[in-house]
Amino acid sequence: MKPIFMTYTRGDLINLAILLIVGVVVIPMTVSSGYWYTSILIPWLCLALATIGQQIIMGYTGQLALGAAGFMAAGAFACFNLILRVPGIPFVGALLISGLIAAAFGILFGLPSLRVRGIYLMVATLASQFFIIWMIDKFGWFKNYDSSGIITAQDIVIMGKPFTSPVEMYLVIVAVVTPMTLIAMNMARGSTGRNWMSVRDMDIAAESMGVSLLKTKLQAFAISSFYCGVAGALFAFTYLKSLEPVAFDIKLSFKVLFMVILGGLGTINGAFIGAAFILLFPVLLNYIGNNVFHGAIDATIISAIEQVVFGVLMIIFMIYEPLGMAKLWETIKIKIAGLFSKNK
């Protein structure tokens, strides 16, 4: 399995080509209902991007950080203010700078990781969640002194062309998420990822091999928050279409955390699988409630069932498959391949 382009093997490239054809050609041509884009595909890709960010810090570097939504909020409001205040700034430029601003916050709130670890670090990083939201709420400047509390996000305009319909926004997201995913894979498979994982698995040995804990941890925090920041900006501009600090509350941080755990710690594709599962599962439950039981089950019960199932799944995965659904997927693939080779 030698890589033929960047760090990708032939199999990777074939998968990528198939996914791109499906994502860019097949879906826009066949799916016409706006519901699929606005309620499923767009939030899925945005949250998957944030999950990659959380994955980098938690799954790869082993730092139990809980504040993804805070960095997403930083990215979202940074993007809003950049477009508002910098005339003629291109959308992609604003998106990248938003990511960098979130990364700066990431470095700041990553500092406790140099001293504390595990559950204590989790508590320390919660500060980012509350501080960033508080800051946005406290200083009117961030919200352009809007009194209603809900600000409408600007239209996405790239090279003079507005991207406002669900399909167009979906394509913008694909154009951002695809390269960022590939870049994350390059890092994870290269020396950068090995440094992260060495810190995760045995920090004292990593140090004896010349890996600087300070640099590696802060770098991981910065990159992780960069991903969260870009994801937050996209989330606000395409899914929420508004900017409200409450949308980035602690619940969203937990959601991203669950996506990492269910998807599989330390896997990039797990980010997509985990995000899909957590987003689609409630949709599926609702569908079953409406179409199988014809509304006989109360909506509140359905949402309660959802919580219970998530909780149970989290426990099951933590105990039996810490590598999550990504690992299950690998196992299934190997089993299927085994079936075919036996038939030959």
Partner: protein, 263 residues
């Protein structure tokens, strides 16, 4: 003895008057010894004699209250694991400190960290420099894998390997740093006779083919006497013997420490 590829040279590492205590417990008291270039130097002693603490002082994991470490004629002011790694001192750990969820090859590749200069942007975008470095590092690690005869397990996560093999991977990781001096903390602890013999073979092979200076801690007297050039014996944190295996074997204080003595 046959002619060595790398004849023993002058002192490369000097440990002077090191004292280390944890609260009121004295782990090491006023200990000095040196290590010559290209030699295999053993530190032996009964349990709790301060052998591992000694290694941790050289490597910078512990900070001795008194004393100095001189490497290649330069007294090292601030001894930290990272700085010592940069100076060319690598190590293995007593209770294995491998990256359990990473593959054997990835573990060894981490050892190449100090030979990797491309930053994360270059890696992320796979710029030519990062690709070139990765290739060089991978080739070097494949060589080490071959050298240690562990080709068949190179893609296995280390946590799934038996103890003996993990010890070998740890040696491989230390070798990947291209260090001039490797500290081995009980490289043969918990091994059976067969595995011990194999590990000895590798230690001698590394010393002979690459010329790496080795400092090793060992419990098994037999093994130590067979492979090391000089032995320093610690007991209760003090040097009680220092010399060639034969000199140490006939040293009365060493015999007393090992066999016990009537008071």
């Amino acid at each position: 003895m046959t002619e060595r590829n790398f004849p023993i040279g002058g002192p490369v590492l000097e440990v002077k008057n090191i004292s280390l205590s944890f609260g009121g417990v004295k782990a090491i008291t006023d200990t000095s010894f040196n290590v010559l270039e290209h030699e295999i130097r053993a530190i032996i002693g009964p349990n709790g004699a301060g052998k591992s603490s000694m290694l941790n002082c050289i490597n910078g994991i512990y900070k001795p209250q008194v004393g100095s470490v001189t490497y290649k004629g330069e007294e090292i002011q601030k001894v930290t694991p990272n700085i010592m790694a940069q100076k060319g001192i690598s190590r293995t750990f007593q209770n294995l400190a491998l990256f359990k969820r990473m593959s054997v090859l990835d573990n060894i590749l981490v050892g190449r960290k100090l030979h990797t200069t491309s930053n994360f942007m270059e890696v992320a975008l796979q710029l030519p420099k990062a690709k070139r470095e990765e290739k060089v590092n991978r080739d070097r690690c494949e060589e080490i894998v071959e050298f240690l005869e562990i080709e068949d397990i190179k893609n296995t996560p280390v946590g799934k390997l038996p103890y003996g093999l993990q010890k070998k991977v740890e040696l491989g990781r230390a070798l990947a740093t291209d260090a001039n001096l490797i500290l081995l903390d009980e490289p043969m602890a918990g091994m059976n006779v067969e595995e011990k013999r194999e590990m000895c073979r590798f230690i001698l092979k590394v010393n002979d083919e690459i010329g790496t200076t080795m400092v090793l801690i060992e419990h098994d007297m037999g093994v130590v006497m067979d492979i090391s050039d000089r032995v320093v014996v610690l007991d209760y944190g003090k040097v009680i013997g220092d010399g060639t295996p034969d000199e140490v074997r006939s040293n009365q204080r060493v015999i007393d420490a090992y066999l016990g003595v009537e008071h």
